[in-house]
Symmetry: C2
Subunit: 282 residues, 2 copies
């Protein structure tokens, strides 16, 4: 396993591998790797000759009052996990190299970037689309892998790849959950033990809502209300902590008043220092 920090060197290595007809799989991450990330690595290993993992905490996708500085960084353990999974390259650039002084170019997916998390985190998906596009230009993969915990991100990147004729297959893989149901996330590290227990309400509410729909509930509003009730049944989450609960078309992310499959139910809730997101696909 090699660790590459320079985009041009990374690009040269990839060109060389591609000229030998190697299939490249790419897993972009912000590090603090957990089983969710590793499930992507394993899929990439199966479907490609070479697997590249990038580790880059992207300043452009954090708002001015968000957790860019606090975001967990753990390159040592991340490196060990990648090695154990037989990753071929870690791309690990510095922020000043990805965004040098005078950096000015941004990419934006209209519509999809403005709902849900985009409403609460203005500029977030502009930062996400831009860094992913830059990384795709550097790694030039055949397949790129995203976890569907960040469902909106996955849909936006898929749309960007299609709109911009990238010729890259964007693959979304299922959420990996802890035994207690909580979706794995690097931000779970912010939670105290009590908060983590409370956080299980998120997946619990989503699973309950899925059951509700599958047994015949077709009113989007009623499904959302039932989730709301469950989230507020604990001791920590208050109404102001709930950023959104939404049931929507799984491709266009438009809100559904009448539930129609394929759809996705997604939510964002603040608990302690963490802003947690989760979703379930129907």
């Amino acid at each position: 396993m090699k660790i590459i920090k320079d985009p041009k060197i990374m690009q040269r290595i990839i060109w060389n591998l591609k000229s030998k007809k190697k299939k490249i799989g790419f897993v972009p991450t912000m590090g603090a790797l957990h089983e969710g990330h590793l499930s992507l690595v394993r899929a990439s290993r199966k479907e490609n000759d070479i697997t590249v993992v990038s580790i880059f905490v992207n300043p452009a996708q954090f708002g001015p009052h968000e957790d860019y500085r606090a975001y967990p960084r753990s390159f040592g353990p991340d490196q060990k996990k990648c090695k154990a999974e037989h990753v071929d390259f870690i791309f690990y650039p510095r922020a000043q190299v990805m965004y040098p002084a005078g950096y000015a170019t941004y990419t934006y997916v209209e519509g999809l970037s403005e709902v849900l998390c985009g409403q609460k985190r203005p500029g977030h998906f502009k930062g996400v689309a831009t860094i992913v596009l830059k990384l795709l230009h550097i790694i030039m993969p055949d397949h790129v892998y995203f976890g569907m915990k960040d469902y909106q991100q996955y849909i936006i990147i898929k749309k960007m790849a299609e709109d911009l004729n990238l010729g890259i297959t964007v693959i979304g893989l299922p959420i990996i959950r802890e035994r207690i149901g909580l979706a794995m996330s690097s931000r779970n590290a912010y939670l105290t033990r009590e908060e983590k227990e409370e956080a299980t309400l998120l997946s619990m509410a989503l699973f309950y809502a899925k059951g509700l729909v599958e047994t015949g509930e077709a009113q989007g509003g009623k499904v959302v209300k039932s989730i709301y009730r469950i989230l507020l049944s604990g001791r920590i989450i208050k109404p102001r902590d709930i950023d959104y609960i939404s049931i929507m078309d799984s491709k266009t992310l438009t809100e559904l008043k009448i539930v129609q499959k394929p759809c996705v139910i997604a939510l964002a809730v603040r608990i302690g220092k963490a802003r947690l997101i989760d979703n379930i696909i129907l």
Copy 2:
């Protein structure tokens, strides 16, 4: 010479050529080809194994009251000119294929896109950056060629390629002029004979300004004033027809009060149905 209309087929052909280590040169155009375009084709032919010319009148770079519909289209003659220059492929997609229903992804170079033509044509450079990025993803060239008549466009694309880690060399080539000095442009077709004569004032003023600077004039304002005076010395151009006259740093496009090389003097003037631009590099 082959004419390809489908982006995926074009991409597949290019992948195949690249796997054979062919160097790809690319000349993006909006058609209505003139000697300016052909000078780019000739440079590409010299420096690459394969030359691709795209012909696409890009709706995304025209404002709602601009000349998208009226813009000259002449695929028959363009095809003949390309064949005579031994172009290998013309990429000739339809607008609905490049921007299908629901298209949503745009790229933007901040700062550089907001001055000069960007001020008078809001959204123009967002449309330019987006279509060029799409075309670069499809053609994946080693070298891409632009005429420096559209100097701001050239600088924006160069910045985009660098910022987005495209790994593509952006080459700008000198303006080709008619004998009377007028910069070649597809939009010159809009001019009557009298207007065309008047239009020679643009290059005349720029050449005069260059001489002025080279013989010691260092006040940007004075240089601009001298251009203004020459432009208004004819019978057609009125003060309201002059969109801008600017002397600026050749890389950052910031206005220069004190002239310092390398710099560029650029102007935009409306004559009849045409909006003409021209510039000179010092």
